[in-house]
């Protein structure tokens, strides 16, 4: 547990935050939840639409098995109960991009029940955040409001794509925790391959429930800030909404339960245009769909074939590779980073591999603005570089030089070593000759050294290395100098 509770200092004293998240995650599948239309991002408008998706008369939904499997996998990844019996309900409301006039969702009986994830905070502490439920539902289409002066355009490509709505318990107490929770969810789903977590393309969106209270109090009224599409904005929106609520309470007002939007430009939340009526979704079981009944053996099969999850992988790195917790966390943060690291580390010193990945590689990614999925140096080449260090071909210093050349040219280390003649000199005769030459040229310094000015040793090393164009094996050069200087 973190030591101190996060508070915001108001005019009248400190306030705590209570935060819960509802996350909408687009399921990775080829076809939509209830139709055979494609889900690919960025298609021409209204090309990935079936008559089912467009809500044509007499069209009926038939569920996609893979979407169900993805929800179960995600549930398992969230350490949650899998409900073998669940049901789909209709959520009725009118909107231009909701073709059926209702969304098929799971209201009373979701496919996944209670679970929990552990988040890690910057100070190294961890917290458990409860998962209330996960359910499957249809996404809506897209309304474009800026294409025409008097009309809104509707594209139904997204209509009917499977979403997972993941609801957390109101367990978070700071913007940082909410950010960490969302990052953790995204990480788990990426590991599972159930959601690509791409917030820019809208495949992961969050609604945030925020309330404030005096330390020790029960819950006060909460507000929902809808449809936030980045982790940074989630954290900013929470902070802004909490401050707004504190101001309302401190001025003697009442926070009203409502839905708000986060204005990213101004960093403030604002009330959604007041509805003429309260929402009344008139949920009822969808009569087109019998219950969703899962075969326990199938769920077991999904559990057995689940990939290694970030927490497990981190533990393994610490256990098997002896990596410190921090390094392990950094390496498992992205599935692709972990995969890169493991390829570099395979059959090599894992600590050396971790240092190179987290140090030189990350720096190179930053500098070249590339990602781990498209790195300037492949894991295989970095592994080969490490081998050249281990077998003494390259010194640490030379290796860094070779690595920089690899980043620039994209060529494998052996080729660079050959081309540039960077191979380290370990031939004792050549080193001895270089040492003798240097000592002879600096007889005066040798005399000073022998008279007790021992710090001149470094000077001799430098001169020998310079004479050998930096390629002398440092250990051998040292040994030879020590011997000659007596």
């Amino acid at each position: 547990m973190s030591a101190a509770t996060y508070t915001i200092e108001g005019r009248t004293g400190p306030w705590e935050l209570v935060i819960g998240l509802e996350v909408h995650a687009q399921v990775i599948s080829k076809a939509k939840l209830f139709s055979g239309a494609a889900t690919a991002f960025g298609a021409e408008p209204n090309t990935q639409v079936s008559f089912v998706d467009a809500g044509f008369p007499g069209m009926l939904p038939v569920i996609n098995r893979e979407c169900v499997a993805q929800a179960v996998r995600t549930g398992l990844g969230l350490n949650a109960e899998i409900n073998l019996w669940s049901r789909f309900d209709r959520k009725n409301y009118f909107y231009a991009d909701l073709p059926q006039g209702y969304q098929i969702s799971q209201y009373a009986h979701p496919i996944v029940g209670r679970g929990a994830v552990e988040i890690e905070l910057a100070d190294g502490t961890t917290r458990r955040i409860g998962i209330t439920r996960l359910h499957l539902e249809q996404d809506a289409g897209k309304s474009l409001h800026d294409q025409h002066p008097t009309k809104t355009f509707v594209d139904l490509n997204r209509a009917g794509i499977a979403l997972m709505e993941i609801v957390s318990e109101p367990d978070m107490r700071s913007p940082e925790e909410a950010g960490a929770f969302l990052a953790k969810l995204r990480q788990i789903m990426r590991y599972l391959g159930t959601c690509d977590g791409n917030m820019e393309e809208g495949s992961l969106r969050a609604d945030v429930n925020v309330s404030v209270r005096r330390p020790g109090e029960g819950y006060r009224t909460r507000c929902e800030v809808k449809n936030i599409n980045s982790i940074r904005f989630v954290m900013q929106a929470i902070e802004a909404e909490a401050r707004r609520q504190i101001a309302v309470w401190e001025e003697g007002g009442e926070v009203e339960q409502e839905t708000r939007l986060f204005d990213t430009a101004r960093g403030l939340t604002r009330s959604m245009r007041s509805k003429e009526e309260a929402h009344d979704y008139r949920y009822f079981p969808d009569p087109d769909l019998p219950p969703l009944v899962l075969d326990p053996a199938w769920v077991e099969e999904l559990r057995r074939t689940l990939p290694e999850l970030p927490d497990q992988r981190k533990a393994r790195y610490m256990r098997e590779f002896g990596l410190p917790a921090y390094d392990a966390s950094v390496l498992v943060a992205e599935k692709e980073t972990a995969a890169y690291f493991e390829e570099v580390a395979r059959g090599r010193d894992p600590k050396l591999a971790a240092n190179w990945v987290m140090g030189d590689l990350f720096a190179a990614l930053n500098r070249t603005k590339r990602t781990i999925a498209d790195p300037p140096v492949s894991a295989r080449d970095l592994g080969a570089l490490l081998d050249l260090i281990t077998d003494g071909t390259l010194s640490g210093k030379l290796a860094k030089e070779v690595f920089e050349a690899m980043v620039e040219t994209g060529r494998p280390p052996a080729a660079i070593v050959e081309e540039r003649g960077l191979r380290q000199v370990t031939d004792a005769g050549a080193i001895e000759a270089a040492v003798e030459k240097v000592l002879a040229a600096h007889a005066d310094k040798v005399a000073e050294y022998k008279a007790g000015k021992e710090k001149l040793f470094g000077f001799f090393v430098g001169q020998v290395m310079k004479a050998m164009a930096g390629k002398g094996n440092p250990a051998l050069v040292n040994a030879a100098l020590k011997r000659k200087l007596g």
């Binding site: 044509f56 008369p57 509707v154 009822f284 009569p287």
Partner: protein, 495 residues
Amino acid sequence: MRPTDLTIAGALEALGRRALSAEELTRAHLEAIEALNPRLNALITVTAEQALAQARESDARRTRGEARPLDGIPLAIKDLFCTAGVRTTAASRILHNFVPPYESTVTAQLRRDGAVFLGKANLDEFAMGSSNLTSAFGPVENPWSRRNDPETRLVPGGSSGGSAAAVAARMALGATGTDTGGSIRQPAAFCGIVGIKPTYGRCSRYGIVAFASSLDQAGPFARTVEDCAILLRSMSGHDPKDSTSAEVPVPDFAAACRRGVRGLRIGVPKEYRLDGMPAEIEALWRQGLEWLRAEGAEPVEISLPHTQYALPTYYIVAPAEASSNLARYDGVRYGLRVAAPDSDLRDMYERTRAAGFGQEVKRRIMIGTYVLSAGYYEAYYLKAQKVRALIARDFERAWERVDAILTPATPSAAFAMGERTDDPVTMYLNDVFTVTANLAGLPGLAVPAGLDAEGLPLGLQVIGRPFDEETVFAVGAALERAADFKALPRVRAGA
């Protein structure tokens, strides 16, 4: 015999021995339609050219020796079944111009088996009604009329009123219908023909404009029990496009018509003896039991104690589902749109739906919206689902003692167009005997069994176990043989 007076079985036989061509048969029916439809208004859309083309293809197949089970049989299709390239209206202004680019599974299967489609039959708007008076394309007239009052125009029943009237008037050899609370059986009874609502899940609902998804079932109309059996076989079967479609084999229903009823126990539910039920209906019911007893069946009095709650249950469940199913008619993607120059989206919705839906449809959408709304869901909708479970359980218990159940099909014969229209609830009582089979998902068949004092047909209903249409056909055929119903409607082809 006129081609229009043939049964489907008889027509298939005549086509088979080349005594008649499909084109001749279709032409005869198109002529009947041309002559009678202006008066009866049974069809909203007539697809004469398409029908003739289909008939010629049928003749060609037969010549090649590739005849299919229904090859060349001209049918009317209730205008609730989507037919690719042919306007499908649901008898609503809101779909007045809708041309579906896809075909319902049931009609696709009928086409697969060689049937010829004459046109799209009139109905109550969105299948909501028992009179065909709610159609946006005008009422259908029942081809029957009262013996002593031939001028008073009667309703054909509903919602599949156009289908029933077309078959009774010899404008088609058979027709498709849908039945949500009695919409096949009540018009069949009113028009003196046979109609069956099969078990829920027997026919795919894919491509049928939805009214109430948990109650809607497609089924056939024809003038004999055997003809219905022949049509149902083509219409039935598992469809992966409908998640509620049952994966059960499709038997030879026509063969079951010849089984006889010896040894069958026939349930007589005492709760169906209504106060104020016309004596002639009561008498016909008793007569039906006697006929079956004479054929070796055993009448058994049973109790279906929750029967009296079936209609109120239905009038919660069906409108609730309808209010949601009809939300898609919003003027955005197809159908009618009505907007003022300054309409926003919401105003466009409200104007479109106000202009596009008729009074009965609006009433039911309002009721359905209300019973699902916050604070009322449990008192109405959930309660109705529980009573529905009790009604289904009543039948489950009855099946321990009987093999089929016999009831009157309707509480009266066809009524006049002006009658019973003021009070919706009075109109709803038409379905009192039929609605239980929808709530419990059971097959029910209406068969004409006699005439009332005014010379109007009266029907009996046979209800069967789930997926046991065969016994229903066996009992229906036995009643048909015994009743030997020969009366003809005044308005019919060749009359």
